[in-house]
């Protein structure tokens, strides 16, 4: 890794360390509880709470590296959740006992993948900008969510499932394992496979990629299917435990995911970014939420601060990069 990438990709981790130090010290004076901020259990919980947005953000990273964006993930998340919970109440599923669980998961994940594939196919075949396509999909998929059960929540609690979701293995919660597992797989995909390499190339310079004989469309499709799958995976992880989904659940998730991705240094214009840095972005945001709560700030303040920090960080990034460029031009 050369110096340039080290500065770019290391930034988010430095930011996390600063957050940890700040909230630990500030917590000593302002905390409403006696528990230290960097308490072991607290940190484990933080990772678990990062998982729903985090898993989606991983998918958003690959879509954005590819030069696209997906605004429909929040709605996909909600629809997959409904399929997960509702399918377990179907008569034939109930007859299967606990074997209904893997089947319900499969249905939910399939739902997400298919919705993603629809986005991908439209972007590929029509050439309409992904922003527009997925904006439409966001509204459309949310419409499906409401059509399913009106304003009513969809609920089904399966205690085996809850036990699984609340289990801890080597200290980490199930949700955390899913987050880390997904990150590892996607990291390998993006850094070590042909698909990953080509996704970067297409995002960075589509014309040059076409001239090198790369078929752009299939890569788009794969990435949209992946993010759809991951949005559903996020729903599976979260609702296995909670057991009840409201039709408005998952709203703004797309924006939180994008925030985490951008905070991690992935470029909106495509061609640049990393899965690991997105993981950093996700943790940084969750740390902010938890930390501000720890020192007694309310939810509204938290959002304001996150917004300001996002802009400040990107400004800083821009300044650093610009200085780097100027040096290189001489």
């Amino acid at each position: 890794m050369n110096k340039e990438t080290l500065i770019k990709q290391g930034g988010i981790w430095v930011f996390i360390l600063v957050e940890l130090a700040f909230f630990s010290i500030a917590g000593e004076f302002l905390s409403v509880t006696d528990v230290a901020f960097m308490d072991y259990g607290n940190m484990l919980l933080l990772l678990k709470q990062s998982a729903p947005i985090g898993i989606i953000a991983l998918g958003m990273t690959i879509v954005m590296i590819n030069g696209n964006i997906d605004l429909s993930v929040g709605a996909t998340f909600a629809l997959a959740a409904i399929v997960l919970l509702d399918s377990m109440t179907w008569p034939f599923m109930q007859a299967l006992g606990d074997w209904a669980i893997p089947l319900a998961w499969l249905f939910a994940l399939l739902t997400g993948t298919v919705l993603g594939a629809i986005n991908g196919l439209i972007v590929w075949k029509t050439g309409v900008d992904a922003f527009i396509v997925t904006l439409g999909a966001m509204l459309g998929y949310r419409g499906l969510v409401f059509m399913y059960n009106g304003e009513q929540p969809t609920s089904h609690l399966n205690w085996t499932l809850v036990d699984f979701a609340e289990a801890q293995f080597l200290g980490l919660h199930t949700a955390t394992w899913f987050l880390l597992g997904a990150a590892l797989v996607l990291w390998l995909v993006m850094t070590r496979t042909v698909h990953g390499r080509n996704a970067y190339a297409i995002g960075n310079n589509r014309e040059a990629a076409v001239n090198a004989g790369i078929r752009v469309g299939p890569h788009f499709l794969w990435n949209f299917m992946l993010i759809g799958f991951l949005a559903a995976l996020s729903a599976v992880v979260f609702y296995s435990e909670s057991g009840s989904v409201n039709p408005n659940d998952g709203m703004l998730y797309e924006l939180w995911a994008i925030t985490a991705v951008v905070l991690g240094g992935t470029k909106l214009t495509g061609g640049y970014g990393s899965i690991i840095s997105t993981l950093g972005g996700v943790i940084a945001i969750q740390l902010l939420r938890k930390g501000l709560g720890h020192i007694g700030a309310d939810t509204e303040t938290v959002n304001l601060v996150i917004g300001l920090i996002l802009i400040a960080v990107l400004f800083l990034d821009r300044q650093l990069n610009r200085r780097g460029k100027e040096e290189l031009k001489t």
Binding site: T193, V194, R197, A208, E327
Partner: protein, 518 residues
């Protein structure tokens, strides 16, 4: 001229950036009514010097004088107010706005309450356009204009003030020969009005045609000023690169092999018609013509980026259908495109990944890409083409133009192509690297590659090609062998034999009839 005071004078300019002395005690002066060329290889410090002059960088030492009055430049706007204006190679115009709005962008004449005074705007614009003798008016939308005319708008912008010095930065990079004539007229006119002109260009031909004196920079240092009438290309080149350069014609032909590609009756709407030619192994065929003559479009067709209406392409005697670059690559055709940064390279990627991009598909062991296989390809071509980079991790966007071009060439050589098409091989590349690229292309022919070179620079075509195909308005007008081709005959051919070619050469070949689907 010596008894006059200089319009613009730089004295002892020093500018350092961390780790590099970009400008080291640079001084030079431009007299009123003088066209002063500023030359140097890429990285010699020309751009930095211009940025200092435009107030984008502040010099560490040294002073700038306008009419012998010391001036501190703080921004391009302030520089313009002081009478120093820049015409950049890359146009910065708003396509959707009118000519007048572009010219007075940021300083639109106003009436009360901030309303635009349209009458005054158009009147003042027409006034300026009148001096330039152009074929469009103040209300034309800029997006509708040709590149050359857009450049005229940039120049018109410079004339909104009464300039003391105008700096042209590679102004002819995207102009046709006919358009250059118009530009040179404008420069002559400015000159006659006593404006000092700094002319930055790599093109020797132009430098010797229009400039009075030539100042040369090398490695950030001022290397001297020559009177254009008393020097020649060799001397200037020597100053620029510190050695002399042999750009003589190449007559050492390689042994010719089988016909690698034959094209018969290829047509594409109004873009080009009835194109037939062939290239043998070991042969370099040069395509020469004006911008818009259809040369690039033929290359795009052979590479599968454009569908022809009629005609056929034969590789090794067999007819092939090429519907996409994927087909072309499979058939062993490679294209080094005209726009290196836009079409040839993924600038944000590292050197190695760029080089292996077309074949990374075939380099997997199980599911992962084999880094070892990739590195062996990169190392091989890094040595073979003498690519100068700190390592394979270097981002391609940070390399010099010459090294970037070598990466593109290496990328295609590693595919072991039957036919290599090189479109404008040395555009925007400094003199030293230019010679290297030329030698490289000749070497490839010697090794038995079939090569097509498309170029707008006549010396380049004459130097490289075994045969020259001259094109005019979408048709092949004549084919020359290296022995029979002369500069005069070539110019006559490409400007339409017998006709008043240059005037009608300005055809816009774009989007007329046949599509560019990819």
């Amino acid at each position: 001229m010596t008894d006059q005071t200089p319009a613009l004078r730089l004295e002892g300019i020093v500018k350092t950036f961390p780790g590099v002395r970009a400008l080291d005690d640079v001084s030079f002066a431009v007299m009123p009514g003088e066209v002063h060329a500023l030359m140097g290889e890429n990285g010699a410090g020309k751009s930095t010097l211009m940025k200092v002059l435009g107030g984008i960088h502040q010099p560490d030492e040294g002073r700038i004088f306008i009419d012998e009055e010391a001036t501190v430049m703080t921004s391009p706007i302030q520089a313009k107010a002081r009478g120093v204006v820049f015409i950049h190679q890359e146009l910065s115009l708003a396509d959707e706005l009118s000519v007048a709005e572009n010219i007075f962008l940021g300083e639109l004449p106003r009436k009360t309450l901030g309303r635009v005074d349209w009458a005054a705007l158009y009147a003042r614009t027409d006034d300026i356009l009148g001096k330039l003798n152009v074929g469009f008016n103040a209300r034309t939308r800029v997006g509708e204009l040709s590149i050359a005319n857009q450049q005229m708008v940039e120049i018109a912008r410079a004339l909104t003030v009464d300039p003391r010095a105008v700096i042209f930065d590679e102004p002819t990079a995207s102009l046709t020969d006919a358009e250059k004539v118009v530009l040179f007229d404008v420069i002559a006119d400015l000159k006659a009005r006593g404006v000092g002109i700094v002319y930055i260009s790599h093109r020797m031909e132009e430098i010797f045609k229009i400039t009075d004196r030539i100042s040369v920079l090398r490695d950030g240092q001022y290397r001297g000023t020559l009177n254009t009438s008393e020097t020649d290309e060799d001397e200037v080149t020597q100053l620029m690169i510190g050695r002399s350069l042999d750009l003589s014609r190449n007559h050492a032909h390689a042994e010719l092999g089988e016909v690698a590609i034959e094209v018969r009756g290829l047509s594409c709407g109004k873009v080009y018609r009835d194109i037939s030619f062939s290239v043998r192994r070991g042969e370099v065929v040069g395509f020469y013509g004006l911008v818009g003559a259809g040369r690039t479009e033929i290359a795009e067709t052979i590479f599968g980026l454009r569908d022809p209406d009629a005609g056929a392409i034969y590789l090794d005697g067999k007819e092939v259908r090429i519907a996409s670059p994927i087909d072309a690559i499979r058939h062993g055709i490679s294209l080094v495109p005209e726009d290196r940064k836009g079409q040839g390279l993924v600038l944000g990627m590292n050197c190695r990944d760029n080089m292996t991009l077309p074949q990374v598909d075939d380099m997997t062991s199980s599911v992962f890409v084999s880094e070892r296989a990739e590195l062996s390809i990169f190392d091989h071509y890094k040595d073979k083409l003498d690519i100068r980079t700190p390592g394979w991790r270097q981002t391609v966007g940070n390399l010099s133009g010459g090294n970037q071009q070598k990466i593109v060439i290496g990328k295609w050589l590693s595919m072991n192509p039957k036919l290599l098409i090189v479109d404008e091989p040395t555009r925007g590349i400094d003199v030293g690297s230019k010679a290297e690229i030329h030698n490289l292309i000749r070497d490839l022919a010697t090794q038995g590659y079939a090569v097509i070179v498309i170029s707008s620079e006549m010396p380049e075509v004459l130097h490289l090609a075994d045969r020259v195909v001259a094109m005019h308005q979408g048709r092949i007008v004549r084919e020359f062998t290296a022995e029979e081709v002369t500069e005069d005959s070539l110019i006559q051919a490409i400007s339409g034999i017998g006709g008043n070619g240059a005037a009608q050469a300005d055809v816009t070949a774009q989007d007329a009839g046949c599509s560019r689907p990819h």
